[in-house]
């Protein structure tokens, strides 16, 4: 099966394309076909993973070439794939969580008449993401990268009849393009400097063959790409708007897979980043800023999906931070990515289930007391909640703990910021739990909350179980050991505080966050409408406006570009067109003048002939006489 591992890409790709061209007859079974395709990919991935597990440690990497993609002079790109411990984890995460989301979507999209198309897009998305993680060449990776961008555009804008969804899709696409420019430039630079774009070759040779400035440039360009895909500051603005898509899309794209692509890219390019300390520092800074910004946004949003989106930003910030720490953090970044994929997908799907019961209302101020109305959703969401805040024993506890530890190993201040982030995470997640499930009900009229059908709750239960148990991956240092062939040996910094002491500190900070949120939101009843902007603190206002990310983009990019466009249009219309049109006009005027002798009167023509011949005769006479 290891030699056939490329089938995990082909199966969903063929299914997705097939579903798109299949006519109306496909509507009855299209969703099943899509789900089965994803499940088949998962099974293939699982078998391949088990086989990889059975191999000796230094032989856990299978590379292959499907065909030569481009061959032109010295430029040679193979459609090459590599299945190694890192890709294996991603394949399992993408296909596993992806399949559960497919199953959930069967129920969630049951009443949508374009369900077949939805599943086609989901399959295309999974195929693109798998291409990305299996690629052994940056250009092939870029193919998957763009495929993910396209699929996310199609899915975010799936309800394209809503102008807001269409705009959100466009925004996601454009902001991703900004990052893609960085990615494309990085690939060009690789080829110019190293003569290849193979991931293995580039990462092996960059330290020896290229100067540090080239490595830094590569690192920063890749980081730009990663920022776009992973919604990191400064390219974060699309993520919150992307919640316009159907909720399973949010779970698939914005929790478990797409946004993790940036983290994957940084970890995969560890050779480049290890050779470029400046770029690594940039990754840490981006991660930290996003971590705190996302947490801030999460605290203030009343829209349940946007609160979760802020949380996603923040958690991806954690992963970026860890990835920027170098070999000390790579494994933990991936570990947190996997556990986050479980619990965030769980919570997004849970939020979808809540919306399903609340007539698609997303405002948490209209929720409350859903604990009794939706026991299964509450239970699974609660487990995800405990996992994300890092309740001891749950998966998030292990993964976040490790990152904070590694951050303290890097620098005290970085560690402190990460620790603060953990406290804020606890705060906004508790707020979300209280407002949605435990506080007194504030339902609107005509809303009758009910538990979702079995096809939606079963994936929730599975994901909840994974959120709880995901932590076992780190027991005995398994994940560090497993990823060692890819990212190198993980060094442990000796901290002043022992590991268990660190855990206690983190747990204490989390407890403070929980207690703070609990007391804030249970002491007084929650208003059914949000307080006006003028009545809330500056921080809350900033969070509500997504830290003014849109305003910043508008001022720094959109408006100057518009002005530039206006100037260019003016120059084009007045200068270039003016010259061309002016020339034409002058020619026209001259013709108009020359036209006047043409009267149509035969007699005037006769007169001119007479005058003409007289002139000729006189001229002849003058010449002969002279």
């Amino acid at each position: 099966m290891l030699d056939l591992v490329w089938l995990v890409v082909v199966v969903p790709l063929v299914s997705g394309l097939g579903l798109l061209v299949w006519g109306k007859e496909g509507d009855r079974v299209g969703h099943l076909v899509g789900t089965v395709a994803s499940a088949v990919a998962f099974v293939i991935g699982l078998v391949a993973f088990v086989q990889l597990l059975g191999r000796p440690e230094d032989d856990r990497s299978v590379a292959g070439t499907l065909f030569t993609w481009i061959s032109s002079g010295p430029f040679h790109v193979d459609m090459a794939y590599r299945f190694d411990p890192l890709s294996a984890l991603f394949v399992l995460l993408v296909t596993g969580v992806g399949t559960l989301i497919h199953v959930y979507s069967i129920g969630y999209m049951a009443h949508d008449e374009r369900r077949r198309r939805f599943f086609a897009y989901l399959n295309l998305f999974v195929a693109a993401m798998l291409t990305l993680v299996l690629a052994d060449d940056y250009l092939v990776l870029f193919l998957g990268w763009e495929g993910v961008g396209l699929a996310s555009y199609l899915l975010i804008g799936f309800w394209q009849h809503k102008p807001s969804a269409a705009a959100a899709a466009k925004k996601a696409f454009v902001l991703n393009r900004v990052g893609d420019v960085g990615m494309a430039l990085a690939i060009m630079l690789m080829f110019a400097q190293l003569g290849t774009s193979s991931i293995q070759a580039v990462n092996a040779t960059v330290a020896g063959q290229a100067s540090e400035s080239v490595a830094t440039a590569l690192g920063l360009l890749l980081l730009l790409g990663a920022c776009g895909k992973s919604a990191q500051v400064p390219l974060q603005a699309w993520l919150l708007d992307a919640m316009e898509g159907p909720t399973p899309v949010s779970a698939l794209i914005h929790a478990a897979t797409m946004v993790t692509a940036g983290v994957y890219l940084v970890v995969r390019s560890n050779g480049i980043f290890d050779a470029a300390p400046v770029a690594q520092t940039a990754v840490v800074v981006v991660g930290l800023v996003t971590l705190l910004a996302g947490a801030g946004i999460g605290c203030t949003k009343d829209d349940i999906k946007k609160a979760l989106a802020g949380s996603t930003m923040s958690q991806i910030g954690y992963m970026m931070l860890a990835a920027g720490l170098g070999p000390a953090g790579y494994a933990f970044a991936i570990f947190h990515l996997v556990t986050h994929g479980f619990f965030k997908a769980n919570m997004f799907l849970g939020a979808g289930s809540v919306m399903h019961g609340m007539s698609d209302d997303v405002d948490m101020r209209h929720y409350g007391a859903l604990r009794r109305a939706m026991p299964v959703t509450f239970a699974t969401f609660g487990l995800g909640y405990l996992a994300i805040i890092g309740f001891p024993g749950f998966s998030g506890f292990f993964s976040k703990d490790r990152i904070i530890e590694a951050a303290f190993g890097e620098s005290f201040w970085v560690g402190l910021a990460a620790l603060l982030g953990a406290g804020v995470t606890a705060f906004y997640m508790t707020r979300l739990m209280v407002m949605t499930f435990t506080s007194p009900k504030r339902w609107l009229d005509d809303v009758h909350p009910h538990e979702s059908p079995r096809v939606m709750t079963v994936p929730l239960v599975v994901l909840a179980a994974l959120s709880v148990l995901g932590g076992v991956l780190v027991l005995g240092g398994w994940i560090e050991h497993w990823l060692e062939p890819v990212v190198g040996h993980t060094e442990h910094h000796e901290l002043a505080v022992p590991a268990w002491g660190m855990s206690i500190i983190v747990t204490a900070v989390v407890a403070v966050g929980v207690a703070l949120a609990w007391s804030t939101y249970t002491r007084s009843p929650i208003a059914g409408t949000a307080p006006a902007d003028a009545d809330v603190s500056v921080l809350t206002r900033a969070g509500r406006h997504e830290l003014y990310g849109n305003a910043v983009n508008d001022t720094l990019v959109v408006r100057p570009t518009r002005h530039l466009t206006r100037v260019l249009v003016f120059l084009d219309a007045r200068l270039v067109d003016g010259l061309v049109r002016g020339l034409a006009d002058r020619l026209g005027d001259t013709s108009q003048f020359l036209r006047t002798p043409q009267t149509g009167y035969v007699r005037s023509y006769a007169l001119s002939i007479l005058v003409g011949s007289l002139v000729v005769v006189l001229a002849l006479l003058a010449v002969t006489l002279a």
Partner: protein, 97 residues
């Protein structure tokens, strides 16, 4: 000989002025004939003066061409008259922008 040439000049001038000032197509046409024949007279006179036959041969050619021209010209005038009910050359002034 000068008398012949003077007559030719007078005839030619009458013809030319007639072409320029008259509106009736038939009259214009007759004036053109007058100009042609004035030229013929000049050619024949010069032929006699020089004692060669060149001018006379040229005069014959002019007559043949004039005959052909009459055929075509009159046909045009007739067809204009049949469509427009007029023979004024100023009314047939559509051939312009």
């Amino acid at each position: 000989m000068n008398e012949y040439l003077t007559l030719s000049m007078i005839l030619f001038t009458i013809g030319a002025v007639g072409v320029l000032v008259r509106r009736n197509a038939i009259v214009v046409f007759m004036c053109v004939e007058l100009m042609l024949n004035a030229t013929n007279l000049a050619l024949v006179t010069f032929s006699r003066q020089h004692g060669t036959l060149d001018g006379q041969i040229a005069a014959f050619f002019v007559m043949v061409v004039a005959a052909a021209e009459v055929v075509v010209g009159l046909a045009i005038i007739v067809s204009i008259y049949s469509t427009r009910r007029t023979t004024s050359v100023d009314d047939a002034s559509l051939l312009k922008l």
